[in-house]
């Protein structure tokens, strides 16, 4: 057989592969991933996905459509309540005030209480660039990129959209945003989280609040599910917030079914007469020690 029948295609293929190799090598040298928008460094929709479902803890409150199980905060995809996903809703949310879609999303992360969706509580979401989550600006950019790729459905976000995001971020990151945070009148002293576990059990908190992965002694009729799920609450909320929730349950009532009683107040009883100060301090320490997984 004529060797060139194999030789010519093989040679041709080799030439094309060498060319492709040089292109990939040169791109690597510049630190760019092959294909994808030219966001600098590690900012990418993939990184955003990791952060959303991981250290950003967004998933603990927000689901995206059918993904995730959190109910606490607005679903970022579509569900019974929302017919459009967030990347569409955001365009009209504050349109009358001249907010672009990107600006609205950025504001919801840096200053969540500036606009709270109807049916959800104010003060529930804290600025994410602050503790306890304290994502860096770049991480937040990645998360927004993830959302704007329609939660991973698209490959990349157009450059000018990302530019708008970065612009808005600069405004919010540099400005001293006044948020209606709970400013404690006094700091909560450090308590003993282990003791706090027993306080939780004694006070029968587990009869209304579920904590994944923890076993308590029998409570009675209800076994969690009456009040918000407290799994990993320590990662999401500050010490002061937890202290307030115990001391004054009506200050912030989490949105959701059945958390409010008929009188419009929280169903959670008050423990002013039944809890000692020490127990309170330890309980708060215990709650604050509850870390989410992942």
């Amino acid at each position: 057989m004529n060797p060139h029948v194999i030789g010519i295609p093989a040679f041709g293929l080799a030439v094309l592969l060498v060319f492709a190799f040089f292109g990939i090598w040169v791109t690597d040298l510049q630190g760019q991933k092959s294909g994808g928008s030219q966001l600098s460094g590690d900012i990418s929709a993939e990184a955003g996905r990791e952060i959303f479902w991981g250290k950003g803890k967004c998933y603990t409150c927000h689901s995206i459509g059918g993904e995730g199980s959190a109910q606490r905060c607005p679903n970022l995809g579509t569900n019974d309540q929302f017919s459009d996903p967030i990347w569409v809703r955001a365009a009209v949310r504050k349109q009358s005030e001249g907010y672009s879609r990107e600006r609205y999303i950025v504001e919801s992360i840096y200053d969540p209480n500036a606009y709270v969706v109807e049916g959800f509580s104010k003060g529930l979401m804290k600025p994410i660039n602050k503790p306890p989550i304290a994502l860096t600006d770049d991480e937040i950019t990645s998360v927004i990129a993830y959302l704007l790729t329609e939660a991973g459905a698209n490959d990349a976000v157009p450059e000018d959209v990302m530019a708008a995001v970065l612009d808005a971020q600069r405004d919010f990151a540099s400005a001293k945003v006044a948020t209606e945070e709970f400013v404690p009148g006094m700091p909560v002293p450090e308590g003993d989280a282990e003791e706090g576990f027993y306080v939780f059990e004694e006070m029968k908190c587990h009869s209304c609040h579920k904590i994944d992965g923890m076993e308590f002694e029998a409570a009675g009729d209800a076994e969690g599910g009456v009040g918000p799920d407290l799994t990993g609450i320590g990662d999401i909320q500050t010490l002061e917030y937890l202290a307030e929730s115990v001391m004054d349950p009506n200050a912030i009532i989490v949105a959701g079914d059945g958390f409010k009683g008929d009188d419009g107040n929280s169903k959670m009883p008050e423990f002013h007469d039944t809890m000692t100060l020490r127990e309170f301090i330890d309980l708060v320490a215990f709650l604050s020690s509850l870390k989410a997984e992942g």
Binding site: G35, S37, D155, A156, D160
Partner: protein, 657 residues
């Protein structure tokens, strides 16, 4: 009550009818949102931009082939008429057969491209059609001319065998229509980069179609693409011959035929390749004129590495071309006299490529940065700048040309002295040289009188303009002396001196001087490049004219043993073809990507999901894929064209035997 109820009923009916009519009227109004305003569409989940890229590039490649081949087919045919050698005529016929096979595919791809554009980018195409629809009708009509002339040219080949000049005229018509077609289409592409006829405030188009045709980048794009089409056609034909030589040739006669055809294809390609870098530089410079930001982006920004890849491909092409000459020396009796020159030419070529491929933004590791003391190596950084690149590309061209001259004379033995060749050298050498040297001479005087203010330079810079002018004068003088020397039988010495001087002036003197101009009078750099081109033209054309007469009627030491070429040389031709196809894809990427996220630069933004600039990695993979598709496809087409061959051959064989 009957009347009342009837009238109520009829009133109700009328109201209902009105309501229904209103719906019909309202429906289009309501539907307007859905039908008229679509900005982008997509085919399912597919990436529209990628689809466009592949289809458009394939159309351009096939188009380049279909437009480039008629140019040299007609020239080869004319050579066949002049020399009376039937081989040339047969070869032109074979070129044209390949052409007609590819033509229908090109047109079909064009149709597909058009529909994709209108379907996937309706708003953009609406805008472009608004500007260019007049020329679009003309474009379509021109295809009738092309079709008629192509098929008449091909099918009437034997019939018009005794009325050759009629046939050539048809070929001329074919070329005319082809040229017109590419000129019209080029204007749309160049308009997207340099739009004209716009109202400065609203950016609305208020010009006319033909004014929009003559936009700033149209002419440079035309020149560059025309030359590139010839190169493309030549190299594809050469690769076709190489494949047939290696795979399908059954006997010595066929091998000789395809060896020779490969040589001609390669020769045509190289001939057009020589001025191509100048055309490219012209286009690049005009991009800077249109927008310094676009220009800076092209050379110093996002596409600077792409140009290094381009340098890599061009190095492949030139090295393959020279390699083809060298490996072919074996089949030329008497070539061993010149074998010693190979290493010097190779050395010069490689040194030139080393400079050309040195990037401006040299990748450095941290340790290197610290030891070098900054981002740039203090010596190598100069190699990354334009004057260095301009200087060495000319050297590459000169060496290739010198190689070609050697190839021409490789099997020539004793020459007939020019002084004994009668009147024709005494007439033609001076006349042709005068024609060649006229413009460079004029340009030298132009530079001496150039007012720096025309280039936005202060008046004292005029002294800088003198050096290039003097170099032009020196070259012209030496060229004249060379002609005189040739007429007195010192032609070969004259050639060496002339080409050597050209090399020194263009690469050595102007290479270094270019840096000074870069520093002190940047806008003048373009004129330096023009001077370099003119010096090259002087040197090459005068040396060529002298060469023709030096070796006219010289004794051949033996026939060139066509068919005896080593397989390596044929693979070099295949490499050339692949490299030029990839190069076309790469340059298309640059042209398209320079617009960044604009459909029409500065006027119509690209807000689609794929408005980001792909990386070089994506580009090489995509262009590699397109190359694979193109080469396979055109290979199949050539095979189809060859299906009619076998019957002819066996018929001929039957008759002839």
């Amino acid at each position: 009550m009957g009347d009342g109820s009837r009238s109520v009923f009829s009133r109700g009916g009328v109201v209902a009818l009105f309501g229904l009519l209103a719906c019909f009227v309202a429906a289009p109004v309501l539907a307007q949102d859905v039908v008229g305003e679509a900005q982008y569409r997509s085919i399912g989940d597919l990436d529209s931009r990628m689809i466009m890229w592949v289809v458009a590039e394939l159309h351009l490649m096939f188009g380049a082939f279909v437009l480039g081949v008629p140019i040299f087919a007609i020239i080869v045919e004319i050579i066949g008429i002049q020399t009376g050698d039937k081989r040339y005529d047969d070869m032109a016929h074979e070129f044209t057969k390949l052409l007609s096979a590819a033509f229908a595919t090109t047109a079909a791809l064009g149709g597909l491209l058009g529909f994709l554009l209108f379907g996937l980018y309706p708003q953009f195409m609406g805008h472009l059609t608004g500007v260019f629809h007049g020329s679009m009708y003309v474009y379509a009509l021109l295809f009738f001319g092309e079709t008629f002339s192509l098929y008449i040219y091909y099918y009437s080949w034997d019939r018009l065998a005794d009325r050759k000049w009629v046939h050539v005229a048809v070929g001329g018509a074919l070329n005319f229509f082809g040229l017109a077609i590419v000129l019209v289409a080029n204007s749309w592409a160049s308009y997207m980069m340099s739009p004209v006829g716009l109202d400065p405030d609203t950016l609305a188009f208020n010009g006319d179609t033909w004014g929009a045709l003559i936009n700033p980048l149209w002419l440079p794009l035309n020149v560059h693409r025309l030359l590139a089409n010839i190169v493309f056609g030549g190299f594809v034909v050469a690769a076709y011959s190489a494949v047939r030589f290696l795979v399908t040739a059954k006997n010595d006669e066929e091998r000789a035929h395809y060896d020779w055809m490969g040589y001609v294809g390669n020769f045509v390609g190289i001939l057009a390749l020589i001025p191509l870098p100048f055309a490219g530089y012209y286009l690049g410079r005009e991009v800077y004129s249109v927008s310094p930001v676009m220009g800076n982006n092209m050379m110093g920004g996002a596409f600077s590495w792409t140009f290094i890849l381009q340098a890599l491909l061009i190095a492949m092409i030139f090295l393959a071309a020279n390699y083809y000459f060298w490996t072919s020396m074996d089949r030329i009796q008497g070539s061993n006299r010149y074998a010693g020159s190979i290493k010097w030419m190779l050395f010069l070529l490689l040194a030139a490529f080393a400079v050309w491929m040195t990037p401006h933004n040299l990748p450095l590791s941290a340790a290197e940065q610290i030891r070098i003391g900054g981002q740039y190596h203090p010596v190598l950084k100069y190699l990354g700048l334009m004057p260095a690149k301009n200087a060495v590309v000319n050297l590459i061209i000169l060496v290739t040309f010198a190689n070609f001259l050697i190839y021409r004379r490789a099997n020539q033995g004793e020459t007939v002295p020019v002084s004994q060749q009668g009147q024709s050298p005494k007439l033609l050498i001076p006349i042709v040289s005068a024609m060649v040297l006229a413009y460079p001479l004029y340009y030298g005087f132009y530079l001496l009188g150039l007012d720096p203010a025309e280039l936005d330079l202060p008046a004292e810079k005029a002294s800088l303009f003198r050096v290039p002018a003097y170099l032009l004068f020196i070259e012209v003088m030496v060229a004249v002396l060379a002609c005189v020397a040739a007429l007195y039988d010192r032609g070969r010495l004259a050639q060496m001196v002339l080409l050597g001087l050209t090399g020194i002036l263009v690469t050595g003197v102007l290479g270094v001087y270019g840096f000074e101009i870069l520093e002190k009078a940047n806008p003048f750099l373009r004129n330096i490049a023009v001077v370099q081109v003119l010096l090259m033209i002087c040197g090459i054309l005068v040396a060529l004219v002298i060469d023709i007469f030096e070796f006219r009627n010289a004794e051949t030491l033996g026939d060139i043993r066509w068919g005896d070429a080593p397989a390596r040389s044929q693979y070099a031709l295949i490499l050339q073809c692949l490299a030029i196809v990839m190069l076309m894809g790469l340059m298309g990427f640059i042209r398209s990507g320079l617009r960044e996220d604009w459909h029409i630069y500065g006027v119509l933004r690209d807000t689609s999901a794929q408005s980001w600039t792909p990386t070089n990695a994506t580009m090489t993979i995509t262009v590699g894929f397109i190359t694979l598709v193109f080469v396979s496809w055109i290979g199949v087409l050539f095979w189809i064209a060859g299906l009619s061959d076998k019957k002819e051959q066996s018929a001929q064989g039957g008759e002839g035997a």
